[in-house]
Symmetry: C2
Subunit: 199 residues, 2 copies
């Protein structure tokens, strides 16, 4: 009967718009929300509004932040000669988790996708090129995803950046650590062979 | 770096409390929400608050509704002599979807679970018994889930209701329509044999 209960239907619809949430999950979430205490429901609604209001793009690297300049960009401990270009803020989180990278980032907020009408102007390419002007950056690491579009974007950017006399590198391809070779797809395996190193 | 962005971390935490949402999904949802327009974020937050404020239990059947008495209970087209007892509002929706049932419902909002400290007083058992007092109901259909706790709850209620001279029935067990016998579990299959009908 939830069709007839408008507020529940509206909330279900809202949850259904979240990535990876189907009709049944959205309904479960709506029922869950209705059972929250008044304070909990208020905290939930406020978290949405506060996040939407206070989160913006870092003025330097375009990563998400609640300040003018993000924590990485404003840290004096990071190496400003190394720039890692990623598609998404989530990739920054993933790379930070390795605790291996000490350079800076640049978040594109997408990849080139001509078929979907996404050209360089829809990404933060202008901002990236502006950052390279002062000559401080010595190497740009392309860490876009190993997809067709991620590759194309990396190639496109490298053609713009190399003429500036800046080294451009790409993340290594290969078999994931701990994975079983038997289950690796042919392309990954071929790339792993191609990129083999002497021991 | 999302650890350092408090509003994003708080929103991720809120999404992570929803049923079936893990850490990664919650983060994806939070990033998605940050990208919403101001109006969209406001509509989302308001849907939560409105649902929480306006949805309550029907004064008769305890199903969720935004009125004093729900649409099923206030309909003159339903058969008041037949009462279907379910665990959850979602089950009402599932049964309504069959378009086969014309009686009324009673929503328990849970099942008996002594190990988790859930006794009859935590469910709407009192409300159920009060509804049976006027002698209008002739049959109560136990449609609790076919789990150990659902069974125990159905047994418990049937022992309270039968002495009132009201028929108590249970949903039929059997192989799901369209399913392959090969994949049916032994218990379901045994119940299907036990409940066989002559053709």
């Amino acid at each position: 009967m939830e069709q007839q209960i408008a507020p529940l239907a509206r909330l279900t619809e809202q949850f259904g718009r979240l990535p990876g949430v189907g009709r049944k999950s959205a309904l479960r979430m709506a029922y869950h929300t209705v059972k929250l205490s008044k304070e909990e429901a208020k905290a939930f609604a406020e978290a949405i509004l506060t996040a939407r209001e206070s989160i913006r793009r870092c003025a330097v690297c375009c990563d998400l932040t609640d300040r003018e300049i993000c924590a990485v960009c404003s840290s004096s401990k990071r190496d400003p000669s190394l720039l890692c270009v990623v598609e998404d803020p989530r990739e920054v989180t993933a790379i930070e988790r390795t605790h291996e990278y000490r350079g800076l980032y640049h978040v594109l907020h997408g990849v080139l996708s001509p078929l979907n009408g996404i050209g360089p102007e829809a990404l933060t390419v202008m901002e990236l090129l502006a950052r390279l002007e002062d000559g401080l950056v010595r190497e740009v690491i392309m860490a876009t995803n190993p997809t067709v579009e991620g590759e194309a974007t990396a190639m496109y950017l490298s053609r713009l950046i190399k003429p500036l006399g800046i080294a451009v590198s790409r993340l290594a391809y290969g078999v994931p650590v701990g994975a079983d070779l038997e289950y690796a797809d042919e392309i990954t395996l071929a790339r792993a062979l191609e990129g083999r190193r002497s021991l």
